[in-house]
Symmetry: C2
Subunit: 347 residues, 2 copies
DNA sequence: CTGAAAGCGCTAACAC
DNA sequence: GTGTTAGCGCTTTCAG
């Protein structure tokens, strides 16, 4: 009961392995009649292609590698979902690695992926990756590399990120539209790019509507509930209290939500609130938390599309061409998710 | 700049491919000296093994396939996390497929996995899988098949599930321990096994503590917030109101939580509440929701362990042996996560 | 302890 | 339109 091979089929139909192979792969130079016959025989014998042999010979695995910090984080789970979905529909499969935010695992993952001759790699870089050598290695091997969310421009790879500035702008604008006018912001550590971008989006939106940007209304917190609580409390103690808060992360927004309620303010009546990230808990807190969605699934789909583009270019014989053009950078528009916490006006 | 192969190394050190291969694989019949020399040369030439070739020849890929409904569901993301973690530390990689709850995709996934000659498959069966032929095919091909969470006993495969009965029992017991005595239950459709199991655990716990099992205190809802709200409302309208509720899913627990608060009851003072599933939102609602954790990551780890066992057996030459013993079934103990909603007593 | 030979199952030139 | 030939890069008997 050994495995059925194309030799077996060839014997069965009095043909040869190469003809069988071509027929099964719908090669144009095989007559319709033979194709049909061979395919019937294959079905009959319960033939199943050996992709290892095929890949080894053809140099193409139809497998792409994914490296993410952890599949246990909702955001990345959703991105993987998006990638897998469109990858499969294009005949590609997914080899999944987690870096656990560790450079070491990331290096290991890249190494294994390269050994497996994957056709491409889609990655989101770990927080503590000390150097990028392993990724440069990928590029040197001419394996398409696509980055998403946790991007490094130095790698000069196609990438997809969400527009943090714009998301913050939209959130702030929404609050303004709801009639709030003293809008505070709970930001995060400024050396992290996204937090700075979101702060800028916030400030610019205020300016665009001729509202003052008041330093007293900007808090720099950490990414935790407690920090959100604290920041909210301090904001409500300022002489001229805010009537709304835009928090740079949902988790601090939640902390703020709790404290604001505790202090006896009506939400969204007296104080409006919006977060960023659209976490899985956001719809379920009370009042439900408005937020900015980063479209993770879409991010995955676009990443795969970028991989496909890279493949096409490669096939085009442009392999040797100097990298004249900058790599494609897709900047996704975030989407506003309006729930109770920010909706002062009746709909 | 073609790929470096063991031939290149052999040439470099005046040896042969077979010796190089053995040295690189730490084969016992190679002297330490040669090993060292060959490894040095390999490093020097920047050699990277071609796993395709290796797998094709050896018949072992060190890849296992995973089939889950969707990586966008927190539970499955966590399971995958667990599997990948221990798989990697044992030298295995993960090929990931989503069934999207669809039999068709599941079949496709199994087919591709088999074509790729994976060493094993770990799966959680899609809801609408009409027949199990594809999984029987896996078994026929002697590829180890492990099931988790969504299990089918007919497949007679090793599996890991969580003990629903016990989780419900523990939850109910916990409420009793907190001094609640009229404990209601919001269940789900009884044709779904887990809901029936949880109902039994609930009832048995009451009996064990000599509390009556009152039909008026059992609601059969759907898996939605709204259903939870409705069930809670009806429970609070019964002549002799409950002083605590155990909900079979966190999402109905949340609906109950909202309605109970709305009706003006103190929680956990007047009404205690506990859910099941420990969803990602549960820590963040107010009051934070006690729940029963299903240990998804652990489930993944155990699943992989089961795969390893199956491999060991296979290697043992027991291939032909009749399946005398029933397949291992690991039943994980759920863990109680006590938060505010159920904690009446001071700690 | 090392090497020679064979081949895993497939595809891709090239002939016919 | 079909068949022949030659490997992809590796591991694995089996000789020596």
């Amino acid at each position: 009961m050994a495995r059925v091979t194309i030799h077996d089929i060839a014997r069965e139909v009095n043909s040869t392995p190469s003809t069988v192979s071509k027929a099964l792969n719908d090669h144009p130079s095989i007559s319709a009649a033979t194709k049909e016959m061979i395919k019937a025989a294959a079905l009959n014998l319960n033939y199943r292609q050996n992709r290892l042999a095929s890949s080894l010979r053809s140099g193409k695995t139809n497998i792409i590698g994914i490296i993410i910090p952890s599949s246990d984080i909702g955001f990345f789970g959703a991105v993987v979902h998006g990638i897998e979905k469109v990858a499969r529909s294009n005949g590609y499969n997914i080899l999944l690695f987690q870096s656990h935010e560790t450079g070491e695992y990331e290096v290991e993952g890249v190494e294994t992926l390269l050994q497996t001759s994957v056709d491409g790699i889609i990655a989101s870089i770990a927080k503590d990756t000390p150097n990028l050598d392993h990724f440069y290695d990928v590029k040197k091997r001419k394996v398409p590399l696509i980055l998403f969310d946790r991007v490094k421009d130095e790698l000069e790879s196609p990438s997809v990120v969400v527009d943090d500035y714009r998301g913050a702008y939209m959130a702030t604008e929404h609050l303004i539209g709801q009639g709030y006018s003293r809008i505070a912001h709970i930001s995060g550590p400024q050396h992290v790019k996204i937090f700075n971008d979101r702060l800028c989006g916030y400030a610019d939106a205020l300016r665009a509507y001729n509202l003052p940007v008041d330093d007293d209304l900007i808090q720099y917190g950490k990414t935790s509930i407690e920090s959100g609580q604290l920041c909210a409390e301090q904001l409500m103690q300022t002489p001229r209290k805010p009537d709304a808060i835009f928090a740079a992360v949902d988790i601090t927004a939640l902390g703020a939500l709790q404290r604001i309620k505790q202090l006896g303010y009506q939400m969204p009546g007296q104080v409006g609130l919006i977060g960023f990230g659209n976490e899985s808990f956001s719809p379920y807190v009370t009042p439900s938390l408005s937020s900015v969605d980063q479209q993770p699934a879409r991010m995955g789909e676009e990443s795969f599309q970028l991989f496909l583009n890279a493949m096409a270019k490669k096939g085009n014989g442009q392999i040797v061409e100097e990298e004249t053009e900058a790599p494609t950078k897709i900047i996704l528009d975030p989407v506003l998710v309006i729930r109770e916490s920010s909706q002062r006006k009746h709909v």
